[in-house]
């Protein structure tokens, strides 16, 4: 056997690839395929999949829609586009995830910039300070934030002690937004920092020497060069936000619904496996589009991810 492996490179490739390929096909692709099939099945009395095949689950998502744009301020700024339960849910999930990504970026960019300009010694320390929350259990971190914001938590206890009225923070749409930003901040800071650290600051000097003002130097020189980190960070923030389950539950008390949470509900509280599968597939399509955009703009920069 060793002889055959030595003489035929293609056999060697097959031997190296086999275990991983087997695992990916059987325990990643096959489950997704089964989910796709189930999304076209009907539900039985208990909510489990049963024949016949139907388009009903997808039709439910787009049923009774009316294009009705409006603007509201609950849960941060919410631009409504549609009326209709699930399409509105989908749109709101995309909108709030984008909004949280933008807010995360607004906090993360100054941090990454600050870190990149520190002297080397302090830079490593700062990097370590970002790595800790990056690798800390997401559930534990979100729980810590919930603990802080609770009705009788440390913040409100402090406010009461100072004779101030307590804040109604927890289980609101605002709390969900705070939770998304809090949870995803390290995933934005780290890739941004990786790009900024490699950035050659003499480029900015050169842009200035050639007559560009700071804004122009930033948009035309710095932004293109750090875009891999920017895009990676945005994807690493947007995808967990739109699929978020822990944050929506612990910070919003389930009252602010996002699609990821809604999908999970179809498999726990209100059992409807076929409909849940259809929703999951729709979300996968959205995320895949986001991912394709990522690969387009950050080709060959996979190292930013890890």
């Amino acid at each position: 056997m060793m002889q055959a492996l030595r003489e035929h490179p293609s056999l060697r490739v097959a031997a190296l690839m086999a275990p991983g390929a087997f695992w990916l096909l059987l325990f990643f692709l096959a489950p997704l395929t089964i989910m796709g099939v189930i999304s076209f099945l009907s539900r039985d009395a208990q909510g489990f999949p049963t024949p016949p095949y139907t388009l009903e689950n997808y039709l439910t998502i787009v049923r009774d829609i009316r294009f009705a744009p409006s603007l509201s301020f609950e849960g941060g700024l919410h631009v409504r586009l549609f009326e209709g339960l699930y399409l509105d849910l989908l749109w709101r999930s995309i909108w709030l995830s984008l909004l949280s990504t933008l807010l995360t970026l607004l906090l993360a960019f100054p941090v990454a910039l600050f870190m990149a300009q520190l002297p080397r010694r302090y830079r490593n320390l700062a990097l370590f300070a970002v790595m800790i929350p990056f690798w800390t259990n997401f559930l534990v971190r979100t729980y810590a934030l919930q603990f802080m914001l609770r009705a009788n938590g440390p913040i409100n206890t402090l406010l009461r002690a100072l004779g101030l009225p307590p804040l109604e923070l927890i289980f609101t749409p605002t709390a969900v937004m705070i939770g998304l930003v809090y949870g995803n901040l390290p995933f934005m800071i780290l890739p941004l920092y990786t790009s900024l650290e490699k950035f050659d600051w003499t480029m900015m000097e050169a842009a200035h020497d050639l007559g560009a003002d700071t804004w122009r130097a930033f948009t035309r020189v710095m932004l293109p060069l750090i875009s891999p980190g920017l895009v990676a960070g945005s994807i690493l923030t947007f995808v967990p936000a739109i699929g978020s389950y822990i944050t929506v539950d612990l910070m919003g008390g389930g009252r602010t619904n996002l699609i990821g949470y809604s999908i999970a509900q179809q498999f726990s509280a209100s059992v409807n496996w076929p409909f849940g599968s259809a929703l999951a597939l729709v979300m996968m399509v959205i995320v895949t589009i986001a991912a394709v955009l990522y690969f387009r703009s950050a080709r060959g920069t996979q190292r930013v991810l890890i």
Partner: protein
């Protein structure tokens, strides 16, 4: 001219760099605002964690008023058989799935980096997918899969699922390491008469070791921390620690949760310190 210019430029750039760094550190209003936002963000990240740790030593059963130092919540933790069971489950799942995904992922990275074959780009895309798609989709699809093949949910389904989401991360890490690999060392070994197996064992493997260790730490942390996927593929008697904590949080806040969260924080801290130290050592070399 075209051949001379880059060299001159390079020389100048090196000379200019210290001056620019100094300029970046000159106290200006912009820099002051930047520092302020950065410090605020670090505080935002750390205050909840620090407060949680503090209150795990608070003797008050409810509320957030400090009533004195106690270790009783930790004592209860280590006397609670359900927590110890969950911790053991987490450890078993993390160890087994780390070992499996490191082997499988490294082999795949070798094949993908060193050979060219048909459908390679398809595999490349497929290996990225588990990293990109939301955990909840992966958890649900695995739940449906195990239901379809009638495999009872338990440690086995947990391990299968954890390998499925850890292995692509190992693959990506190892592929990056292999891309930097100096193959002339292997050629030198073979020129000196080593056969392929010896070359692999004596040259390739030792040189890849730092990458293997850091990808193992990555996989171990990912597995230990995972809640969403585990939540869907766990069985009645096979709860992992995060799944157990989730159940407790849903029932209401207790000081025990603060204590167990602190233990998990310390664990993460140790793992991060290890991988950070490792990275510093590798990059110093």
């Amino acid at each position: 001219m075209s051949t001379d210019t880059p060299i001159v430029l390079l020389g100048e750039r090196e000379a200019v760099r210290p001056r620019v760094r100094e300029a970046a550190q000159r106290p200006t209003l912009g820099r002051f605002v930047l520092t302020l936002i950065a410090l605020f963000t670090f505080a935002f990240l750390y205050v909840p964690i620090v407060v949680l740790v503090l209150f795990s030593f608070n003797s008050a059963r409810t509320g957030a008023v400090w009533q004195g130092f106690t270790l009783q919540w930790y004592e209860r933790l280590f006397n609670n058989p359900r927590i110890l069971d969950a911790a053991l489950n987490s450890l078993i799942v993390a160890l087994v799935s780390t070992a499996a995904s490191v082997v499988i992922g490294t082999l795949m990275a070798m094949a993908m980096e060193r050979y060219r074959f048909r459908f390679q780009s398809v595999w490349d895309g497929l290996l990225y997918m588990p990293v990109i798609i939301p955990e909840i989709v992966m958890g649900i699809s695995l739940l449906l899969f195990f239901a379809a093949i009638r495999l009872e949910r338990g440690l086995i389904t947990l391990i299968i699922s954890h390998v499925a989401f850890c292995m692509p991360f190992v693959y990506l890490t190892m592929r990056a390491r292999l891309a930097d690999f100096d193959r002339s060392l292997e050629e030198a070994a073979q020129d000196l008469g080593a056969d392929e197996w010896t070359t692999f064992r004596r040259i390739t493997l030792p040189l890849l070791m730092p990458g293997i260790v850091s990808s193992a730490l990555l996989a171990f942390t990912l597995s230990l921390d995972d809640f969403v996927i585990s939540f869907f593929v766990t069985g009645v008697g096979s709860q992992t620690l995060p799944v157990y904590i989730w159940g407790q949080i849903r029932r209401g806040i207790t000081p025990e949760i603060n204590a167990i969260s602190t233990v998990m924080l310390i664990l993460s801290f140790v793992l991060v310190s290890l991988s950070h130290a490792l990275q510093q050592r590798t990059s110093a070399r």
